[in-house]
Protein backbone atom coordinates (compact mmCIF):
# COMPACT_ATOMS: atom_id res chain seq x y z
CA UNK A 1 0.00 0.00 0.00
CA UNK A 2 1.10 3.54 -0.70
CA UNK A 3 2.02 5.54 2.41
CA UNK A 4 -0.29 8.36 1.37
CA UNK A 5 -3.30 6.05 1.26
CA UNK A 6 -5.44 5.48 4.31
CA UNK A 7 -7.31 2.25 3.76
CA UNK A 8 -8.90 -0.06 6.28
CA UNK A 9 -7.20 -3.49 5.88
CA UNK A 10 -10.61 -5.18 5.91
CA UNK A 11 -11.57 -3.37 2.68
CA UNK A 12 -8.26 -3.98 0.99
CA UNK A 13 -9.17 -7.08 -1.03
CA UNK A 14 -12.52 -5.66 -2.18
CA UNK A 15 -10.95 -2.48 -3.53
CA UNK A 16 -8.22 -4.50 -5.17
CA UNK A 17 -10.87 -6.43 -7.12
CA UNK A 18 -12.26 -3.30 -8.84
CA UNK A 19 -10.63 -2.85 -12.28
CA UNK A 20 -9.98 0.45 -13.99
CA UNK A 21 -12.74 0.73 -16.64
CA UNK A 22 -10.34 1.83 -19.38
CA UNK A 23 -7.31 -0.27 -18.51
CA UNK A 24 -8.88 -3.43 -17.05
CA UNK A 25 -5.55 -5.07 -16.12
CA UNK A 26 -5.04 -2.36 -13.55
CA UNK A 27 -7.09 -2.20 -10.38
CA UNK A 28 -8.15 1.25 -9.25
CA UNK A 29 -6.22 0.45 -6.10
CA UNK A 30 -2.97 -0.09 -8.04
CA UNK A 31 -3.65 3.09 -9.98
CA UNK A 32 -3.69 5.01 -6.71
CA UNK A 33 -7.03 6.76 -7.21
CA UNK A 34 -8.48 5.36 -3.98
CA UNK A 35 -7.19 7.78 -1.36
CA UNK A 36 -8.96 6.50 1.71
CA UNK A 37 -11.51 3.92 2.78
CA UNK A 38 -12.88 4.00 6.28
CA UNK A 39 -15.11 1.52 8.03
CA UNK A 40 -17.76 3.28 10.14
CA UNK A 41 -20.49 1.92 12.41
CA UNK A 42 -23.36 -0.18 10.98
CA UNK A 43 -21.27 -1.40 8.02
CA UNK A 44 -21.12 2.05 6.54
CA UNK A 45 -18.01 2.76 4.49
CA UNK A 46 -16.65 6.12 3.39
CA UNK A 47 -14.39 6.06 0.35
CA UNK A 48 -12.49 8.97 -1.15
CA UNK A 49 -11.31 8.81 -4.75
CA UNK A 50 -9.34 11.35 -6.78
CA UNK A 51 -9.25 11.76 -10.58
CA UNK A 52 -6.10 11.06 -12.60
CA UNK A 53 -7.01 13.97 -14.91
CA UNK A 54 -9.62 16.68 -14.26
CA UNK A 55 -11.73 15.61 -17.22
CA UNK A 56 -11.29 11.87 -16.74
CA UNK A 57 -14.61 10.46 -18.00
CA UNK A 58 -14.00 7.21 -16.09
CA UNK A 59 -14.49 8.78 -12.66
CA UNK A 60 -18.27 8.27 -12.57
CA UNK A 61 -17.89 4.64 -13.57
CA UNK A 62 -15.11 4.11 -11.02
CA UNK A 63 -17.32 5.60 -8.31
CA UNK A 64 -20.21 3.32 -9.28
CA UNK A 65 -17.96 0.25 -9.48
CA UNK A 66 -16.54 0.90 -6.01
CA UNK A 67 -20.07 1.27 -4.62
CA UNK A 68 -21.22 -1.92 -6.29
CA UNK A 69 -18.25 -3.96 -5.06
CA UNK A 70 -18.76 -2.78 -1.49
CA UNK A 71 -22.53 -3.34 -1.59
CA UNK A 72 -22.02 -6.89 -2.82
CA UNK A 73 -19.95 -7.47 0.29
CA UNK A 74 -22.67 -6.15 2.57
CA UNK A 75 -21.41 -2.65 3.13
CA UNK A 76 -23.21 0.66 2.76
CA UNK A 77 -20.78 2.79 0.82
CA UNK A 78 -20.53 6.52 0.34
CA UNK A 79 -18.06 7.67 -2.34
CA UNK A 80 -16.62 11.16 -2.41
CA UNK A 81 -14.51 12.77 -5.11
CA UNK A 82 -11.60 14.84 -3.81
CA UNK A 83 -9.09 16.99 -5.71
CA UNK A 84 -6.41 17.58 -3.13
CA UNK A 85 -3.72 16.35 -2.98
CA UNK A 86 -3.59 16.04 -6.75
CA UNK A 87 -3.00 12.56 -8.15
CA UNK A 88 0.50 11.69 -9.27
CA UNK A 89 1.83 8.66 -11.14
CA UNK A 90 4.14 8.11 -8.14
CA UNK A 91 1.09 6.63 -6.40
CA UNK A 92 0.88 3.79 -8.89
CA UNK A 93 2.06 0.54 -7.29
CA UNK A 94 4.97 -1.50 -8.70
CA UNK A 95 2.49 -4.30 -9.28
CA UNK A 96 0.36 -1.87 -11.28
CA UNK A 97 3.31 -0.77 -13.41
CA UNK A 98 4.20 -4.38 -14.16
CA UNK A 99 0.59 -5.14 -15.16
CA UNK A 100 0.59 -2.13 -17.51
CA UNK A 101 3.76 -3.29 -19.22
CA UNK A 102 2.44 -6.81 -19.72
CA UNK A 103 -0.70 -5.29 -21.22
CA UNK A 104 1.42 -3.40 -23.79
CA UNK A 105 1.35 0.06 -22.23
CA UNK A 106 4.72 1.51 -21.22
CA UNK A 107 4.47 2.38 -17.51
CA UNK A 108 5.34 5.91 -16.31
CA UNK A 109 9.06 6.53 -16.05
CA UNK A 110 10.51 8.39 -13.10
CA UNK A 111 9.10 11.83 -12.43
CA UNK A 112 12.55 13.23 -13.12
CA UNK A 113 12.65 11.83 -16.68
CA UNK A 114 9.29 13.36 -17.56
CA UNK A 115 10.17 16.67 -16.01
CA UNK A 116 13.24 16.83 -18.23
CA UNK A 117 11.10 16.00 -21.23
CA UNK A 118 8.64 18.75 -20.37
CA UNK A 119 11.56 21.15 -20.30
CA UNK A 120 12.34 20.16 -23.86
CA UNK A 121 14.87 17.34 -23.49
CA UNK A 122 14.59 14.00 -25.27
CA UNK A 123 12.80 11.34 -23.34
CA UNK A 124 13.59 7.66 -23.74
CA UNK A 125 10.69 5.29 -23.22
CA UNK A 126 11.52 1.61 -23.76
CA UNK A 127 9.16 -0.33 -26.03
CA UNK A 128 6.90 -2.60 -23.92
CA UNK A 129 6.91 -5.22 -26.73
CA UNK A 130 10.61 -5.65 -27.55
CA UNK A 131 12.40 -3.54 -24.88
CA UNK A 132 14.17 -1.48 -27.54
CA UNK A 133 15.12 2.03 -26.48
CA UNK A 134 14.99 3.28 -30.07
CA UNK A 135 11.52 4.79 -29.75
CA UNK A 136 10.00 8.02 -30.96
CA UNK A 137 7.25 10.24 -29.61
CA UNK A 138 4.34 10.39 -32.08
CA UNK A 139 1.92 12.48 -30.03
CA UNK A 140 1.74 13.95 -26.52
CA UNK A 141 -1.86 12.80 -26.33
CA UNK A 142 -3.14 9.33 -27.13
CA UNK A 143 -6.35 7.32 -26.75
CA UNK A 144 -6.90 8.88 -23.32
CA UNK A 145 -5.55 12.09 -21.75
CA UNK A 146 -3.32 10.07 -19.42
CA UNK A 147 -1.34 8.47 -22.24
CA UNK A 148 1.11 9.59 -24.95
CA UNK A 149 1.75 7.71 -28.18
CA UNK A 150 5.17 6.37 -29.12
CA UNK A 151 6.51 4.30 -31.98
CA UNK A 152 9.24 1.68 -31.69
CA UNK A 153 11.80 2.00 -34.47
CA UNK A 154 12.97 -1.59 -34.09
CA UNK A 155 9.76 -3.65 -33.99
CA UNK A 156 7.80 -0.79 -35.62
CA UNK A 157 4.85 -1.17 -33.26
CA UNK A 158 3.15 1.95 -31.97
CA UNK A 159 2.44 1.83 -28.25
CA UNK A 160 0.87 3.88 -25.49
CA UNK A 161 2.94 5.38 -22.71
CA UNK A 162 1.29 6.22 -19.42
CA UNK A 163 2.46 9.81 -18.91
CA UNK A 164 3.98 10.93 -15.67
CA UNK A 165 2.09 13.44 -13.63
CA UNK A 166 4.29 14.94 -11.03
Amino acid sequence: MNPTQDIDPKLFSILKSVPDPEIPVLSIFDLGVVRSAKLLENNRVKVEITPTYSGCPAMDVIGDDVKKALQENGYQPEVKLILSPAWTTDWMTEEGKQALKEYGIAPPESAEADKKALLGNEQIIPCPQCESTKTKLVSQFSSTACKAMFKCQDCEETFDYFKCLI
Partner: protein, 251 residues
Protein backbone atom coordinates in the same frame (compact mmCIF):
# COMPACT_ATOMS: atom_id res chain seq x y z
CA UNK B 1 -14.55 40.60 -0.33
CA UNK B 2 -18.06 39.20 -0.82
CA UNK B 3 -19.08 35.77 -2.10
CA UNK B 4 -20.29 37.49 -5.26
CA UNK B 5 -16.82 38.96 -5.89
CA UNK B 6 -15.35 35.49 -5.56
CA UNK B 7 -17.96 33.91 -7.85
CA UNK B 8 -17.30 36.55 -10.51
CA UNK B 9 -13.57 35.96 -10.19
CA UNK B 10 -14.04 32.22 -10.64
CA UNK B 11 -16.09 32.92 -13.77
CA UNK B 12 -13.25 34.99 -15.18
CA UNK B 13 -10.95 31.97 -14.87
CA UNK B 14 -13.33 29.11 -15.57
CA UNK B 15 -15.16 30.68 -18.52
CA UNK B 16 -11.85 30.81 -20.41
CA UNK B 17 -11.51 27.06 -20.06
CA UNK B 18 -15.16 26.42 -20.91
CA UNK B 19 -15.20 28.47 -24.10
CA UNK B 20 -11.80 27.30 -25.30
CA UNK B 21 -12.84 23.73 -24.50
CA UNK B 22 -15.99 24.24 -26.58
CA UNK B 23 -13.97 25.67 -29.47
CA UNK B 24 -11.56 22.73 -29.40
CA UNK B 25 -14.48 20.33 -29.15
CA UNK B 26 -15.71 21.64 -32.52
CA UNK B 27 -12.57 20.11 -34.02
CA UNK B 28 -13.48 16.58 -32.93
CA UNK B 29 -13.28 14.56 -36.14
CA UNK B 30 -11.93 17.56 -38.08
CA UNK B 31 -8.30 17.72 -36.95
CA UNK B 32 -5.68 17.84 -39.71
CA UNK B 33 -4.29 14.42 -38.70
CA UNK B 34 -5.61 11.71 -36.41
CA UNK B 35 -2.96 12.45 -33.77
CA UNK B 36 -3.64 16.18 -33.66
CA UNK B 37 -7.39 15.57 -33.67
CA UNK B 38 -7.03 13.35 -30.61
CA UNK B 39 -4.62 15.76 -28.93
CA UNK B 40 -6.92 18.77 -29.39
CA UNK B 41 -9.93 16.94 -28.02
CA UNK B 42 -7.85 15.64 -25.12
CA UNK B 43 -6.94 19.22 -24.30
CA UNK B 44 -10.63 20.15 -24.59
CA UNK B 45 -11.45 17.37 -22.12
CA UNK B 46 -8.86 18.61 -19.62
CA UNK B 47 -10.22 22.15 -19.89
CA UNK B 48 -13.83 21.05 -19.46
CA UNK B 49 -12.83 18.89 -16.47
CA UNK B 50 -11.17 21.90 -14.86
CA UNK B 51 -14.23 24.01 -15.64
CA UNK B 52 -16.44 21.51 -13.82
CA UNK B 53 -14.32 21.75 -10.68
CA UNK B 54 -14.60 25.55 -10.70
CA UNK B 55 -18.36 25.56 -11.40
CA UNK B 56 -19.05 22.97 -8.72
CA UNK B 57 -17.33 25.31 -6.31
CA UNK B 58 -19.46 28.21 -7.56
CA UNK B 59 -22.46 26.01 -6.79
CA UNK B 60 -21.28 25.66 -3.19
CA UNK B 61 -20.76 29.41 -2.89
CA UNK B 62 -24.02 30.49 -4.48
CA UNK B 63 -27.14 31.20 -2.46
CA UNK B 64 -29.41 29.92 -5.22
CA UNK B 65 -28.11 26.32 -5.10
CA UNK B 66 -26.78 26.52 -8.64
CA UNK B 67 -25.60 23.32 -10.31
CA UNK B 68 -22.60 23.18 -12.64
CA UNK B 69 -25.04 22.81 -15.56
CA UNK B 70 -26.93 25.98 -14.57
CA UNK B 71 -23.68 27.89 -14.53
CA UNK B 72 -22.37 26.48 -17.80
CA UNK B 73 -25.55 26.54 -19.84
CA UNK B 74 -28.01 29.04 -18.46
CA UNK B 75 -26.16 32.32 -18.30
CA UNK B 76 -26.53 35.02 -20.94
CA UNK B 77 -23.70 36.32 -23.08
CA UNK B 78 -22.93 39.36 -20.91
CA UNK B 79 -22.55 37.11 -17.87
CA UNK B 80 -19.62 35.18 -19.33
CA UNK B 81 -16.30 36.73 -18.30
CA UNK B 82 -13.90 34.93 -20.64
CA UNK B 83 -11.24 36.84 -22.54
CA UNK B 84 -11.82 37.43 -26.24
CA UNK B 85 -8.98 35.25 -27.50
CA UNK B 86 -10.61 31.96 -26.46
CA UNK B 87 -13.76 32.65 -28.49
CA UNK B 88 -11.89 33.33 -31.75
CA UNK B 89 -12.81 30.83 -34.47
CA UNK B 90 -10.91 27.77 -35.72
CA UNK B 91 -10.01 29.59 -38.95
CA UNK B 92 -7.28 27.09 -39.82
CA UNK B 93 -4.81 24.90 -37.92
CA UNK B 94 -2.35 27.80 -37.55
CA UNK B 95 -5.04 29.87 -35.78
CA UNK B 96 -5.91 26.94 -33.53
CA UNK B 97 -2.26 26.58 -32.52
CA UNK B 98 -1.54 30.30 -32.08
CA UNK B 99 -4.69 30.78 -29.99
CA UNK B 100 -3.80 27.75 -27.90
CA UNK B 101 -0.19 28.77 -27.34
CA UNK B 102 -1.05 32.37 -26.44
CA UNK B 103 -3.57 31.08 -23.92
CA UNK B 104 -1.47 28.18 -22.56
CA UNK B 105 1.49 30.35 -21.59
CA UNK B 106 -0.84 32.68 -19.70
CA UNK B 107 -2.79 29.78 -18.18
CA UNK B 108 0.39 28.16 -16.88
CA UNK B 109 1.63 31.39 -15.26
CA UNK B 110 -1.79 32.05 -13.74
CA UNK B 111 -2.08 28.58 -12.20
CA UNK B 112 1.45 28.77 -10.85
CA UNK B 113 0.34 31.77 -8.80
CA UNK B 114 -3.15 30.45 -8.04
CA UNK B 115 -1.49 27.46 -6.38
CA UNK B 116 -0.51 29.90 -3.64
CA UNK B 117 -4.08 31.17 -3.16
CA UNK B 118 -5.29 31.47 0.42
CA UNK B 119 -8.46 29.74 -0.72
CA UNK B 120 -8.02 25.97 -0.40
CA UNK B 121 -10.49 25.11 -3.18
CA UNK B 122 -8.83 27.34 -5.76
CA UNK B 123 -5.47 26.08 -4.59
CA UNK B 124 -6.50 22.44 -5.10
CA UNK B 125 -7.96 23.07 -8.57
CA UNK B 126 -4.84 25.01 -9.60
CA UNK B 127 -2.50 22.25 -8.43
CA UNK B 128 -4.46 19.66 -10.35
CA UNK B 129 -4.83 21.75 -13.54
CA UNK B 130 -1.22 22.85 -13.58
CA UNK B 131 -0.02 19.33 -14.33
CA UNK B 132 -2.33 19.13 -17.34
CA UNK B 133 -1.58 22.57 -18.70
CA UNK B 134 2.16 21.78 -18.77
CA UNK B 135 1.33 19.24 -21.48
CA UNK B 136 -0.96 21.64 -23.36
CA UNK B 137 1.76 24.26 -23.55
CA UNK B 138 4.29 21.76 -24.78
CA UNK B 139 1.93 20.59 -27.51
CA UNK B 140 1.00 24.07 -28.77
CA UNK B 141 4.56 25.41 -28.47
CA UNK B 142 5.99 22.47 -30.43
CA UNK B 143 3.48 22.95 -33.22
CA UNK B 144 4.00 26.69 -33.37
CA UNK B 145 7.72 26.11 -33.87
CA UNK B 146 7.16 23.35 -36.40
CA UNK B 147 4.76 25.39 -38.52
CA UNK B 148 6.63 28.68 -38.22
CA UNK B 149 9.92 27.09 -39.12
CA UNK B 150 8.37 24.64 -41.61
CA UNK B 151 7.55 25.19 -45.27
CA UNK B 152 7.05 28.55 -46.92
CA UNK B 153 3.30 28.05 -46.81
CA UNK B 154 3.12 26.90 -43.19
CA UNK B 155 5.32 29.84 -42.18
CA UNK B 156 3.12 32.32 -43.98
CA UNK B 157 -0.05 30.88 -42.42
CA UNK B 158 1.47 30.83 -38.94
CA UNK B 159 2.61 34.43 -39.31
CA UNK B 160 -0.88 35.44 -40.42
CA UNK B 161 -2.49 33.74 -37.41
CA UNK B 162 -0.03 35.35 -34.99
CA UNK B 163 -0.62 38.78 -36.56
CA UNK B 164 -4.39 38.41 -36.22
CA UNK B 165 -4.47 37.00 -32.69
CA UNK B 166 -1.75 39.15 -31.17
CA UNK B 167 -4.22 41.98 -30.52
CA UNK B 168 -6.07 39.75 -28.04
CA UNK B 169 -3.05 38.97 -25.83
CA UNK B 170 -2.98 42.17 -23.80
CA UNK B 171 -6.44 41.55 -22.38
CA UNK B 172 -5.13 38.45 -20.57
CA UNK B 173 -3.53 40.81 -18.05
CA UNK B 174 -6.47 43.15 -17.48
CA UNK B 175 -8.07 43.22 -14.07
CA UNK B 176 -11.77 43.97 -13.63
CA UNK B 177 -13.15 45.20 -10.30
CA UNK B 178 -13.86 41.72 -8.95
CA UNK B 179 -10.39 40.50 -9.93
CA UNK B 180 -8.84 43.36 -7.98
CA UNK B 181 -10.87 42.75 -4.83
CA UNK B 182 -10.20 39.01 -4.86
CA UNK B 183 -6.48 39.45 -5.57
CA UNK B 184 -6.20 41.91 -2.71
CA UNK B 185 -7.77 39.38 -0.35
CA UNK B 186 -5.03 36.90 -1.29
CA UNK B 187 -7.50 34.53 -2.98
CA UNK B 188 -6.85 35.60 -6.55
CA UNK B 189 -3.88 36.47 -8.76
CA UNK B 190 -2.71 39.91 -9.81
CA UNK B 191 -2.50 39.32 -13.56
CA UNK B 192 -0.51 42.47 -14.21
CA UNK B 193 2.45 40.79 -12.50
CA UNK B 194 2.44 38.00 -15.09
CA UNK B 195 2.73 40.23 -18.11
CA UNK B 196 6.48 40.68 -18.38
CA UNK B 197 7.29 36.97 -17.95
CA UNK B 198 4.55 36.16 -20.46
CA UNK B 199 5.83 38.35 -23.26
CA UNK B 200 9.44 37.27 -22.65
CA UNK B 201 8.47 33.63 -22.99
CA UNK B 202 6.17 34.09 -25.98
CA UNK B 203 8.57 36.31 -27.88
CA UNK B 204 11.46 33.88 -27.32
CA UNK B 205 9.42 31.05 -28.81
CA UNK B 206 8.19 33.15 -31.75
CA UNK B 207 11.80 33.97 -32.51
CA UNK B 208 12.71 30.27 -32.52
CA UNK B 209 9.76 29.71 -34.85
CA UNK B 210 11.13 32.44 -37.18
CA UNK B 211 7.88 34.35 -36.69
CA UNK B 212 8.01 38.11 -36.61
CA UNK B 213 6.61 39.72 -33.49
CA UNK B 214 3.71 42.01 -34.42
CA UNK B 215 4.19 45.62 -33.42
CA UNK B 216 0.63 46.93 -33.13
CA UNK B 217 0.05 49.42 -30.32
CA UNK B 218 -3.70 48.70 -30.38
CA UNK B 219 -5.24 45.81 -28.49
CA UNK B 220 -8.77 44.43 -28.18
CA UNK B 221 -10.57 44.11 -24.86
CA UNK B 222 -14.03 43.63 -23.40
CA UNK B 223 -14.51 39.96 -22.56
CA UNK B 224 -13.67 40.40 -18.91
CA UNK B 225 -16.53 42.89 -18.67
CA UNK B 226 -18.89 40.63 -20.60
CA UNK B 227 -18.60 42.54 -23.89
CA UNK B 228 -17.75 39.85 -26.43
CA UNK B 229 -16.89 39.56 -30.12
CA UNK B 230 -19.54 38.56 -32.65
CA UNK B 231 -18.42 34.93 -32.36
CA UNK B 232 -19.62 34.45 -28.80
CA UNK B 233 -23.34 34.38 -29.57
CA UNK B 234 -22.86 31.54 -32.03
CA UNK B 235 -20.80 29.54 -29.56
CA UNK B 236 -23.47 29.90 -26.89
CA UNK B 237 -26.29 29.10 -29.31
CA UNK B 238 -24.55 25.84 -30.10
CA UNK B 239 -23.48 25.05 -26.57
CA UNK B 240 -26.72 25.95 -24.79
CA UNK B 241 -29.12 24.51 -27.34
CA UNK B 242 -29.99 21.29 -25.48
CA UNK B 243 -30.48 22.92 -22.07
CA UNK B 244 -32.58 25.72 -23.55
CA UNK B 245 -34.71 23.34 -25.60
CA UNK B 246 -35.19 20.73 -22.90
CA UNK B 247 -34.85 22.66 -19.64
CA UNK B 248 -33.33 20.61 -16.79
CA UNK B 249 -32.49 17.73 -19.09
CA UNK B 250 -30.01 15.23 -17.66
CA UNK B 251 -27.76 12.79 -19.46
Amino acid sequence: MTNENLIQYIYSIADNSLILGQRLGELCGHGPTLETDIALTNIALDLLGQTRSYYQYVGELSKEDLTEDDVAFLRNEREYKNVLIVEQPNTDFAYVIARQYFFDVYHFLLLEKLMESKNVNLQAIAKKSMKEVAYHKRFSGDWLKRLGDGTEESHQKMQQAVNDLWVYTDELFHMNEDDKVVAKAGFGVDNTELKETYYNEVEALLKKATIEIPSTPYFQKGGKKGIHTEHMGYILADMQYMQRTFPDMKW
